[in-house]
Symmetry: C2
Subunit: 496 residues, 2 copies
């Protein structure tokens, strides 16, 4: 770390932690060795006591050092990442960008058409039963009446004005200062992400993503000729900022694409102070963050978590979202606030897609304008929170005892980590016979990992059939479990 | 030409013509020199008399050789391209791919918002008065009733089934054998072109385009890091196939993007036999053709001109179109039949845009299913043909005498070539004071050419205001004309 490379206070400690971690990994600080006292290091590095303390806390929470009362911090013998009961452990992923073809599996899983026969736990969206269809229909008719020439004419390139104003209004909830002029509408969040990633990278660049990560992000990045850095991601607090800081310091990352609020599939929600640190870190290295905030409105707690965009002072954050997970997947209404990449994103929209459809944008604008959206969201969130708890309960009661399941505080998705001997791709195929479709873990990395994990959506209403299907999955999994005499029953690692 | 490089009969003559043209350009065949007799060359090249004759005709029509009765073919002294009265001459463009920033002009021209005050001759689309809005509204309501969950659910990735079936049905008119399984729906024709070009090229590749060419194609190609080969284009018969054959033979072209039916801006329509030759030529070199058939339904003659796709036996043609120029620009409903690039295009659609909006697709499907589309098209075509004639008449009567204007047999667009001393970018700015917006010629090439040309849409109904505005343009142009004593009045070159 060069001292002149240390920027705003919010992320200083990350750079210190990154340096200490490097020393531990290189063996300069060895197992059992005591770290310099906080005061000493503070004086040596000309940094405040609290910055050094934050760095030590960061290393401690990542399992690299441990505090001994009345003594100080020591390097841990076993650099094991923390794991909470029933939650997957954070994954330390070898950050070697590598391509591999899982297209065929992906296509199979998502070509499973929804029929009354089939239970699609694989879909990451709301059941139609949860959507305000009658009121949306009215909003569409209103759009048809209001729009010039009943919506047959082109919209402004930047998108429908009513919709952009309403998005800006809703963003006030998280303290945004965005106006309609900062926003560009897109065909769902997918094309927002695609325009952003195209705007901020060139082929051969490396982008940092969470791990496990939404397969759509992998596919998009590979289709743009990008390398992927899959960062270790804590199931509660999200991306490991110290690891990111290390790669940024080495100039290895040209852009980040994260889902800080209720990531897909692991469901983590980055704490506010992490978001602020992340934004400052990226400002310092002048690296853009594409923020997928698709699930942000689906918080189970009282308040909507802020997106990183709330801390963006310099325009490095490209905030992307849509109503596809909350209101109307089939409308394909999304948007982006691209910060200082506004012109670049608009240019791409112009030549790669053109104007957005008028009617569906105006209909969503109308729906938001009435205030019905907040009411609808409140109900949707309650249902999802309840669903989530019931799904979790059933899984913990029915699945083998060493199963770990994520504890998301919002969104649609559960991430389930099974015994390492279980291959969830095989399990996926076996479940098809029972008309059950899951998303196998292999899809969520470019590397051959997470093969013992799976993603389940709890967007489907929790009814008898869902309950029985989860119980059936549990029985089938127990049949697949390795012999108990050969493999001792796993115990859950419990840490504070 | 290697004799084994000669493929199916339909394009053999092109390769012969390409070889002879090269000899003329290199001075191996000199001005006034007699070409070998048709019989001699036929024996030498082991090709039929008619193939050699076709090659000589091709060179003759391009102004490179001339026939002398009872004698034979001679190299012309002046390799002047043919020009018909009142039509722009074909442009021989130096094929040096080069990027240049005309973005700012482009943005200015197309940010001119339609107001009652402003006459947008710049827009290449139908006036709302020409659209069947009431019937479309009904088709949309029907879609809302019919679709599962009122269109809030995702469509299949390939697109709405009803729409794809109807497109396949309408394609029967030009002898297509396409089915719904060959089609992918897209957000207007723009994203169809974008997916296709992304699927068939990689950055650094060269694509062949018409010249002048639609600025959207230029922007798209540059945004993908492609080089552009602007091919000489005849205002009547389209792209110079001999020139294309030369570049293909030299391996310089990785893909073609043409608008064979009523190209934008020049309005040429490739004759059927050219289309067939083009497809065979590309099959021979295994080079894909992205066919923009946006205007194909807007023919003034009795029959819809076939697209090149009609001659595609091997899947090298990616046929793109939409209803944006015929039915509802603001619906953004387009499609592509990508031939053997189907999988590649679907992959791109999946990761860069996702599913298409359900409601507008189903509405267009409904509209097509009733047979109203054909009735609507008939009226629209009649109106446009009449508009076209009136616009042309007024221009020829009002503009300076050396003005040349295209004679399109379909579509929306007139291409007007003025005296070379006129700068249409300056003229564009001057016209803004009169609330008239035109598209200056500079936008239609990456090279600094066509600066004395302009594109006018005749999609606006021909009323008194349009007539007076065209007359005003004529007066303003005459004021800008160079002094008559310095510049002799131009005479029109008339050739058979």
């Amino acid at each position: 770390m060069k001292s002149d490379a240390v920027g705003p206070p919010a992320h200083k400690y990350l750079v210190v932690a990154a340096q200490l971690e490097q020393q531990i990994q290189q063996g300069l600080l060895q197992t059992g060795q005591k770290l310099p006292s906080v005061r000493t290091l503070s004086q040596e590095m000309k940094l405040s006591i609290s910055t050094i303390l934050q760095a030590y806390y960061a290393l401690e929470s990542r399992g690299l050092v441990e505090a001994q009362p009345q003594s100080g911090y020591y390097v841990r013998g076993e650099h094991r990442a923390s794991a909470l009961p029933g939650r997957p452990a954070p994954h330390r992923v070898p950050a070697v960008p590598r391509e591999e073809d899982v297209d065929s599996l992906l296509a199979q899983v998502f070509e499973q058409v929804a029929t009354p026969d089939r239970l699609l736990f694989s879909q990451g969206g709301p059941s139609p039963a949860l959507l305000p269809i009658t009121k949306l229909n009215k909003a569409l008719l209103q759009a048809q009446r209001e729009l010039p020439h009943a919506g047959t004419s082109y919209e402004p390139l930047q998108g429908n004005l009513l919709l952009r104003r309403q998005i800006a209004r809703y963003a006030l909830f998280w303290g945004s200062t965005l106006t309609h002029e900062d926003l560009v509408t897109t065909e769902g969040c997918t094309s927002a992400l695609a325009f952003c990633l195209t705007a901020v990278t060139k082929p051969g660049d490396t982008i940092a993503v969470e791990s496990p990560v939404y397969f759509g992000v992998l596919q998009l990045a590979l289709s743009l000729g990008l390398q992927l850095l899959e960062l270790p991601t804590d199931p509660v607090t999200g991306v490991d900022l110290v690891a990111l800081a290390q790669h940024l310091e080495q100039g290895q990352v040209q852009a980040c694409l994260f889902t800080p609020n209720f990531s897909n599939p692991i469901g983590c929600c980055m704490p506010d102070e992490h978001k602020q640190q992340l934004v400052h870190l990226l400002e310092h290295y002048q690296v853009p963050l594409i923020e997928d905030d698709l699930f942000g409105d689906l918080h189970f707690g009282a308040h909507r978590p802020k997106p990183c965009k709330a801390y963006d002072r310099q325009g490095w954050v490209l905030w992307c979202s849509s109503v596809s997970k909350t209101l109307a997947p089939g409308y394909r209404v999304g948007w982006v606030a691209p910060g200082h990449y506004l012109e670049a994103v608009l240019r791409l929209k112009k030549c790669r897609a053109g104007r957005s459809p008028a009617l569906t944008q105006q209909a969503v604008g109308n729906f938001l304008a009435t205030g019905r959206y907040e009411l609808h969201l409140r109900r949707l969130r309650q249902t999802l929170a309840l669903n989530c708890a019931r799904y979790q309960q059933t899984i913990l009661a029915s699945f083998p005892p060493d199963t770990k399941v994520s504890q998301p505080l919002g969104g649609f998705l559960l991430w389930v980590e099974l015994n390492r001997e279980i291959d969830t791709t095989q399990f996926y195929h076996a479940l098809l016979d029972h008309q059950i479709v899951i998303a196998p873990g292999r899809l969520f990395s470019i590397q051959p990992q997470y093969t013992h994990c799976l993603r389940l959506s709890y967007g489907l209403p929790f009814d008898e059939r869902v309950e029985q299907s989860l119980q059936l999955m549990g029985r089938l999994l127990k049949d697949r479990m390795p012999e108990p005499e050969l493999y001792p029953e796993a115990t859950l690692v419990i840490e504070a």
